[in-house]
Structures are given as C-alpha cells and as structure tokens.
Homo-oligomer: 500 residues x 2
C-alpha cells in the first residue's frame, strides 16, 4: 500500500493538520474569552498556565517537519485550484516565518512580555513612566532583533508592520501621515472656529438594562447572527471568533455615558459581521482568516463611523432612541444629537478621541515606533518625546504619564507596528464605503430607512468571503479600483464636519 | 552535560508532563462548560470538532513513550516520599491502562458513542426504544470487548466498575443491593402506611430571581468560594473543575418547583467544595484528583441529604425562607415543610426519586448492566426487563419508553458501571456523616445554628486533601474505622423516615 499520494489526498492531509492547529488556537480563544468575561478572580494563574500550554502545543504543531514537507510537496501541484494554491503558499510563508524564530528568542520574548506587562501595570499605578522604561528598553531591543530575524526591505520597522498588515511599509505610511498632517491640521483649525456644541445630555443617567437592550437591537439590525454569536460584558469591549459559526462580542456599559456602549456595540458588531462572513469551509486555512488587521478595522469603523455616526443612520434610530430615553432626549433635536456625537476636539486619550483627531494619536505612535526601531528615539526620552508631540500636533499639554505615554497596553505586549492599522482601518473604511455608495443603488436611502441588508450584502460579496486570498492592497484595488488613498477619508471628513 | 538525572529532576519532568496533559484536559473542561452554558446554537459542530482535537492531543501526550519511560524509571526511586510514590504508581497504572486500548477500538468507540447518542435523542423524540436498540446492541458489544481489553478478576462487569470506582466488584455490590432489597423494602412498606403528606406549596410560583439569590446564599453559607468559582444556568445542573481555584457549578430554575433548584444547588455545592478542597499543589497528578466517583457523590449527597434535607438545617433556614417567599410559605409550618421535602414515594424517574426509593432505581440499572455484560440480558429485551423490574421493585407501571428505559443518557455515552456510584455515594455519605457527628463535638448544634464551618473543616481534613492517595475503601476505613457498610445508611433512613 505504499506509493505516492494523490494531490487530493495530500491536500486533505494538509487541511486536517491546519484544522487541528486551528482547533487548538480556537480553544485558546475560548479560554481567553472566558478570562475576560467570567473567570473567577483566583482562577487567573492556572488559566495563564493552561493558555501557555496550548500555545506551546499550537506552536509545536505548526513547526512540525511533516507539515513543512507536505507544504513543499503541495507547492509543486499545479492541479490545485487558485484558492488551494493560495492556501498552500500562505501557509508555507507562515510556516517558514515561524521556523525563523530561534527557541531562545521565543522564550526570551515570552519572559520579557510578561515582565513588561507587569511593569506597565505597576508604572500606571504609580503614574510613573520610569518604572516601565527599563523593561520597555529590553523589549525594544528584542523587537529590533526580531526585525533582523524576520528580515525586511527598506526600513526595519517594515518587518513589524508586516506582521499585522502584509505589504505595509514606512514609505506608504509616511505618505499617508503626511497627508494627515497637511490636510487634517487646517481642517481642525476651521472646525475649532465653529460654534460650541452641547453634549451634556449624553452624560445624563442611561439605565443599564435599557442600554443593553439597545445594543442587542442594534447588533440584530446590523445583521449580526445571534445564533452564531453572543454578547457579554467585559472591562474592554472586544470581538473573538472560534469559527464563523461562533463569533462573540463583548461590551461595557457606563450609565453616565451614552456613547460608551452604543458605538462600541456597533464597532464590535462590524468586526463580528466580518468574522461571521468568512468562509466556514476554509476553517483553519489562510483563506478562512481575516485579510489583515487594517481590513478588520475597516469593517468595524465603517459600521461605527461611516454608518453609525451618520445623520442618515440616526434619522431612523433617533426617534426610537428618544422613546427609549425620553427623560434625557425628548428635548434634544436630531441635529443637536448628531452634532454632539460628532464633536471634534483635540484630547489626551486615543481611545476617547473623535474621528479626526484620532489619527494624530496614531501618527504620534507611528513616529515613535519608527524612531525606536531605527534608533533615533530612545526609550529613556519617551515621556518627553510623547509630551512634545502631543503639544505639537494636538496642542494639548500632557499632565501625567497615565494620560500620556502609559495610556496604551500595546507596547507592554510587544505589539509594535499594530497602531497604524487603526488609521488604515479608517481610511480603508472611507474608501470602501464610498465604493459601496457608488456600487449599490439606493444604499443611502436604505440606511435612512434602517435597512442594512444592501450594505451587508455588498460587504458579504466584496470584502468578507476572500479571507487572505487577497492582501489588503489587492482587495482595495479589486473593490475600489484604486490603491488605498487618503483622499476618500478626507472627502468624507470634509463633507461631514464642514457642512455643519 | 550528559549523565543521569537526579530523582528530583526526573520527578519534576514527570510533573510537568502531567500538568501539560491536565492543562489540555482542563481546556476541554472549559469548552465543555461553555457548551452547556453559553454556546450559541450554530457553534455546536465546530465545538465538537475542537473537543475531539484536544481529546486526541491529550491521549497522544498520555501515551508518549517518554512518559512511560520516565514513570518506569521513577518507580525505582525509593527516595521519593509517599505521595510522590503514589503519584508515580497511579500514573503508571493509568498509563498502562491507556496503552491497552488498540487505536481501532478507540476510533470505533468514539464513532459508536456518537451514533448511540444521536439514536438515543431520536428514540426519545419518537418515544420508541426500538430506534435506540440496534446501536445500543453494538455499544454493549464494544463494552464487552472493553472488559477483555482491560482485563478483570471475577465478573467481567468488574472491569467497567473499576473505571469509576477503583476496587468495586459485583461481589461487593451484590451484598449491598441485597441489603437494599431486604432492608428498604419493608421500610418502604411501613412508610406507605403513614398519613398522606401535602407538598402542593412546593409547586406554587417561586420567583426566578429570588430563587437565584437563595441558591447563591446557600452556596456561600456552605463555604463555597465564589472567588474560586461561579454559578451559571444550564439545562442539567453540573459541577466542573479546571483546577481547585476555578470550580464552577450550574443550576436550573423552575418557577413552579421550589425543590428543583434548591437541592441541586446544595448538591453541586457539595461536589464543588470537594474540588475546591483538593490540593492545588498536586495539580495534574493523581493525588490532586478526586478519589472516585462514589466519593465525589458522597460529598454532594452528604450536603444535599444528610445536611440539606435535615430538620436541623431547616430549623435555621426555614424562617428566612418564609421571609423570602411569604406568599407561599407563611402558613406552612416547619414540620409540614420538612415532611414535604422528604416525601417518600415510588416513582418512575430516577432523577426525581426520593432518598430511599432512589436506590431501587440504581439497583435495577445495576442488575441490567451486569446481565448485559454476562450475556443473560439482551438489549432487544431491555424494554420488557426494565418495565418488569420497575413493577417488581417499585410497584409502578411504566407507561412509555421516555419514562422508562430511555430516561437516562448514560448508556448512550457508553457509561456502563457508572450508576452504582450514585448509590455508593449515598451510603458513603451516611457513613461519613455519622463519623463526623461522632468526631466533631457540637456538629449538630452548629448546623442548627446555620454554621457549617465545623463540618467543612472536618471534610477538609478527613476527605478532601487526599485525592487518589487512598482508594474509596481505604479512605472509608481511615475515616470511619470500617469498610463501607449499608448499616449506616439504614440507620440514618430509619431514624429520619420512621420518627415522623
């Protein structure tokens, strides 16, 4: 019974190995979800250990020689269809990248990440960046080593960017953030001239249960399938997927901040619709995975901002909202509500920033990360650099480290190269939404009528089903006819914020 | 750097391998818990696949040659302490048992279990045992094969009993169930002569939220640590442990049945207290695992029945209960309440049976399983055998299969040899509780005062900390001075049910 296997047999073998790895990773995702939603306090240590074990197993499975051999063999089989070939070449790419990491490096990174995270927690408690700095310095050194391990063309930071957004480069981002600076700064200056906006009514008391019901209704109306997902409460809202049939979102509710839950629901709903729309038959394979973080974020932000903060959206929802919270909103007009939820104002905290100033927050982090990687910025100067940039670009004075350089968790996790995907997400969202408006007749009218089927249908046809078959850039060209450009976002921003 | 490793190094190696296996199994437990509590409907298929993958990985890890070699090596090291030696010998026993199963058998069993479960579901829907019978027949054949694979002394059924209750034999169970028949039958006849008891007030409307609050309060008062566990709702109540710091219970609430939640809470609380009391430093090792199913069940039943259905218990709790549900209970005396919750009456459904007739339900299943394994009973005759036994021992006529031979899930899972542990649990509970009353001064008085610390303290000293260091039988002798005897239960039953 020896002899060579057929292509189909080999491919099935590959598929089942990849699905096994996916099963382990998705089990980790379940444990992670549980950790953020329901884990009892004392269970944290053992949970950490269980996650480490599963992570080691997944890593072992994904570096098995047999898998590598299978992938090399399958690369030679031209009778595979295009999707199968793409799966093989992407898996091989992932596999070879994985193999590049020396075991000592992985161990050291894991150890340093742990220390770095705890130092960050400690530093935040003491509101003192200097507690975080020495460990962060070691983390930055490791990330520099990682750029060498991974290899890169052009700037070393490209190696890290590539981890989150395949094909992204400093050349591309320099151009985009130059546009941000050049086009958004004058826009902001103009907006600041506009009459003051009252948003106090967003901070009256909004009942927890009523907010929850609103969130669930919004998710349902967007088309989120609650039979293939669920919503729970967690400290920080997130979306997690165990497979396209089980994609979960979480939210938080602040009874004195109407916006907190509402747009986090819509945002996570956008992520979740993407995951629910990935092809289930490609489970465990690259073409069953999200294209990139930037594209993922484009989906959440398209729903959150282009739809969920639009006048069209609230034309339908606002009268209902007034009925849900008459004590707070019966005397507030749709126009006033709309202006309040779209107030543009420079601020200190990225996660609370409006749609426009947000990108300065990202640009600052981008400049800093690039500088750290090329060695033009040192961690010991980071507080000063941070505060200087905030003054320069956002004209705000950072009063302390918790509201400054210590505000984000990302660096403590070693996630360098991640931040830019947030901005890319907004810019892709604008370009996609513009394309949808052009391609779907009556899209705006449907949204005004509270009907999101046409939009979801378009996303389900144009964006969701491809997984990693296309890169972000390829997908963008395919869908919009052009590479990513800042102009769509700028036009959207001008239209939205200058009309008022 | 070659050379032989020290005993301590070898033992650490063993420990970390076992903990890795435990991590995978506990990840499965988390996925299982999620499946019963929060899994969205459409996620079931992928979840099944993820569980199968983890189960395969755990099995692979536990049959690794390296582990076997390590265990054989460590068996030779007399400098290990008693607990370490016990861990090694039990792990070796488990390991060798695991190795006995041929891969084809495991695959066939997994396949058949799946089919059997679905046939059972289908048969229940149609209320027709004949749909279940052919698959069950194949399952029984496999279980017979399993007895040969495992090996046994005496009766083949012993091999299966041993899976759940190490050391249990048909000889021991025949004696015990003979006592059940001989002693409980006349007792039941006498009880039937007593005046009728009214329990209608237990079936008035009991508000869901108030029931939930009661359940949580009871769990807390028992000493269940809610920082190392939590309660959720599921269709069937259960306890699951991921480690002693994360032991979760579930319950269900029927607004028209006060007892449904109350004693399921106390029952699962008893299981959970045991798991929270296992030694965390033995995580992943046999001495960190529950002794046996019988001992586990002794803990749940001791709390549920010996404590939670006692007059002493309700002397403290009943006035509070009346305050919680005045509309239902203000006119019901403690005595009437106590009699209602302890009503003895032969019935059709095991899970709804009272403390006494329950054991006839188990005895019937025991006789049937033994007969199936020795070939004196055939699956094709099972409906008739079942109905006949119910008539003979419980004097009830089985009206249909759902209320008869199809009522339990166990056989569809291939769990033969499991049922007897339920009765053993009650009998161990009675013997343990009697010992506790003798050994803890003022135990009853404490319970009357709503103080369970002395009882829990005794359990935490006498039963919980040993894990599998002792077998059930050894533990029983150590704690009570005697092997398991039916007499303690009989005395408890007579005292409780004949006084009235």
């Amino acid at each position: 019974m020896s002899g060579s296997k057929s292509t189909a047999e080999l491919y099935t073998g590959y598929q089942s190995k990849m699905q096994k790895i996916a099963d382990v990773r998705n089990a980790m995702a379940v444990l992670g979800w549980d950790q953020e939603t329901y884990l009892p306090a004392k269970g944290a240590d053992f949970r950490g250990q269980q996650l480490t074990t599963l992570s080691t197993i997944a890593h072992e499975l994904f570096t098995e020689k047999e898998l590598g051999d299978l992938l090399s063999q399958l690369r030679q089989h031209p009778e595979l269809d295009a999707v199968q070939q793409k799966n093989i070449s992407l898996s091989l790419e992932d596999y070879e990248k994985n193999k590049k990491y020396p075991a000592e490096f992985v161990a050291k990174m894991s150890q340093t990440t742990n220390e770095c995270y705890h130092a960050w927690i400690k530093a935040r408690k003491a509101n003192d960046f200097r507690i975080f700095e020495p460990v962060l310095a070691r983390m930055v050194d490791l990330k520099k080593q990682e750029t060498d391990i991974l290899g890169y063309e052009g700037h070393p930071y490209n190696a890290l960017l590539n981890e989150y957004e395949k094909g992204a480069t400093t050349t591309m981002l320099d151009t985009i953030f130059r546009d941000v600076k050049q086009a958004l700064s004058p826009l902001l200056a103009q907006i600041e001239q506009q009459p003051p906006v009252n948003k106090d009514f967003l901070h009256l008391h909004y009942d927890r249960n009523k907010q929850w019901a609103l969130g669930i209704d919004l998710l349902k109306q967007m088309g989120y399938d609650l039979e293939a997902g669920r919503q729970d409460i967690s400290e920080h809202p997130f979306t997690t997927s165990f497979n396209p049939q089980d994609v979960r979102v979480t939210t938080r509710i602040d009874e004195n901040d109407f916006g907190n839950m509402t747009w986090s629901c819509i945002h996570e709903g956008g992520h979740a619709l993407y995951e629910q729309g990935l092809p289930a038959e490609q489970y465990g394979l690259p073409c069953g995975e999200a294209t990139s973080l930037g594209i993922h974020e484009s989906q959440s932000r398209l729903w959150e901002n282009n739809v969920g903060r639009s006048l069209n959206f609230w034309q339908y929802h606002y009268p209902q909202l007034q009925q849900r919270f008459p004590e707070n909103l019966s005397n507030v007009s749709l126009q006033d509500f709309y202006h309040a939820i779209n107030l543009v104002k420079p601020s200190l905290i990225r996660t609370e920033a409006d749609e426009l100033t947000y990108h300065f927050h990202i640009m600052i982090r981008y400049e800093i990360e690039k500088g750290l990687m090329e060695g033009t910025i040192q961690t010991k100067d980071l507080r000063e650099v941070w505060n200087h940039y905030y003054q320069q670009y956002l004209h705000v004075t950072v009063p302390d480290d918790v509201q400054g350089v210590l505000q984000d968790i990302h660096w403590s996790h070693g996630s360098f190269g991640y931040f830019p995907t947030y901005s890319l997400g907004s810019f892709y969202a604008a370009q996609f939404f513009t394309a949808a408006q052009q391609q779907v007749p009556g899209l705006d009218a449907a949204i005004i009528a509270g009907n999101y089927h046409p939009l979801l249908e378009w996303l389900r046809t144009s964006i969701h089903p491809f997984g990693r078959f296309y890169t972000s850039n390829e997908l963008c060209k395919k869908v919009t006819g052009k590479e990513l450009e800042f102009s769509a976002f700028l036009q959207y921003a001008k239209q939205k914020f200058m009309v008022a």
